[in-house]
Symmetry: C2
Subunit: 277 residues, 2 copies
């Protein structure tokens, strides 16, 4: 028998982090958008001695997913992950893998854990392994979302932004732990992130996708996250074509409201994690 | 373009109702279980003047679903519903149709409404049309659930009941509005329902599927809902075979922990409504 769950990609446009004691209570506030593509996770019982995790057919250690498996299952599982975007590039693929794995294991083993509990298990696995601080909350709900409440990582509000096709270009990964475990980098990020969140709140119902991307771009530059020259060039070329554009956090990747050289279109998903149907 | 969503069937085992002013705030507390089969709803823009709802290919008026469409869409839609169980027989097919329709319309029209808002729109549509008082909350979450909090129709807790394959037999419909709009019938139901809820709470983590079904059966008999002779016979035959069995609320249908003459197996789904994937 096999169970399958899907969680969407989530692109972060703005964020600030908060600390907690114990540290697994850490998280982030910010704005994210979920996409129709993401991670599909298939789970079945394994005849091996230990959990076995495959990503695109290759064996991975994948501590974030392994943390979820160890939390939920006392029997060895075989987990097959198919990811629509590369890992580490700002699409929340580790959060999506962890979250979809939690839902699939819950169904496979008839654990009867609630949606919220599964979401929190995935969120804490991300935080403990420093692969993310806020994607899971977005992937749990879906849409164009803002997270405003500290210590409620699964609580989001929908932003009143008219949706549209977006365009992304991926250059490469950024190592998330280097950023979210650096106190100095976080100070810069949080100062810029807090200002960006305030700007979004002030805009209220007048916020547009273009406005959101402009705020995100100011944040990316002001936070020190936008270092890559080729990424800056890509954003500049999208802006030169008349679009709003920004960096996807945390990845060497750009997102724009219109197409630009080397970009691919992506669509917004208005739903969160679920079992495959 | 077309969007599709799925919501699981929900079988109610125990319930009590609560009133509210305005009356669309009505709802129920109780215990329900979601199944892997349910309603699949496909939505697309229509060239007609008005919303068009098809169930299994037949045109239906379907006020509960129409209420959802009118709430969410100012453009005419064509809605195609495929239901795995008959309507009116206690499987929450109207709630599932309303809830899945809300999710599908949200995606089709890029409305960016949050999960909770969509759930509440479907719940209120059920209540206003008296087709149900509590299925939507179960179908929103999924699992073996208890709803304990008045005025929070989407809030459930998972019951610590070891899951298993269930067996159902459907004889026919019960007209839900006749029950939930009758003050006298509700008095009986709520007295018995409240006692059953108390018993479930008292059982705590010692609750089993058999225990839950026994409490449900006592409730069905004590509430006056279990009137049908052939339904009583079916429950008796399942009990004679050594299983626990009860009535599915509100339908002329039986559910048992083991197979009995004329029954079909059903599996529990540990997830709520979602877009089709």
């Amino acid at each position: 028998m096999e169970s399958c769950a899907f969680a969407p990609a989530n692109i972060s446009l703005v964020f600030e982090t908060y600390d907690a004691h114990p540290p697994h209570g850490r998280g982030s506030l910010g704005v994210g958008i979920t996409l129709t593509e993401g991670c599909r996770v298939r789970v079945q019982r394994s005849s091996d001695d230990a959990h076995r995790i495959l990503v695109g057919g290759e064996a991975w250690e994948f501590p974030t997913v392994r943390t979820v498996l160890c939390e939920l299952s006392s029997v060895p599982l075989r987990v097959e992950i198919e990811a629509a975007f590369p890992f580490g590039c700002g699409f929340g693929m580790s959060g999506a893998s962890a979250l979809a794995a939690a839902f699939a294991v819950n169904q496979l083993l008839s654990l009867n854990r609630g949606r919220n509990e599964l979401g929190m298990i995935a969120h804490r696995a991300e935080v403990e392994n420093a692969t993310g601080l806020g994607d899971v909350g977005g992937q749990f709900n879906g849409g164009i979302m803002i997270k405003r409440h500290k210590f409620e990582p699964l609580t989001v509000e929908q932003l009143p932004v008219p949706p549209q096709t977006l365009h992304v270009r991926i250059f490469g990964p950024i190592h998330t732990p280097d950023v979210i475990n650096s106190r100095e980098k976080l100070q810069h990020i949080n100062r810029a992130g807090h200002a960006a969140m305030q700007e979004i709140t002030d805009a209220g119902s007048a916020l547009t996708m273009d406005g959101l991307f402009r705020i995100s771009h100011t944040f990316a530059a002001g936070s020190g996250l936008l270092q890559s020259a080729r990424l800056r060039d890509a954003i500049a070329s999208a802006r030169a074509a008349g679009h709003a554009a920004s960096m996807i956090m945390l990845g060497e990747a750009a997102v724009s409201t219109g197409s630009f050289p080397g970009s691919q279109p992506v669509e917004i998903l208005y739903d969160g994690v679920s079992l495959c149907r």
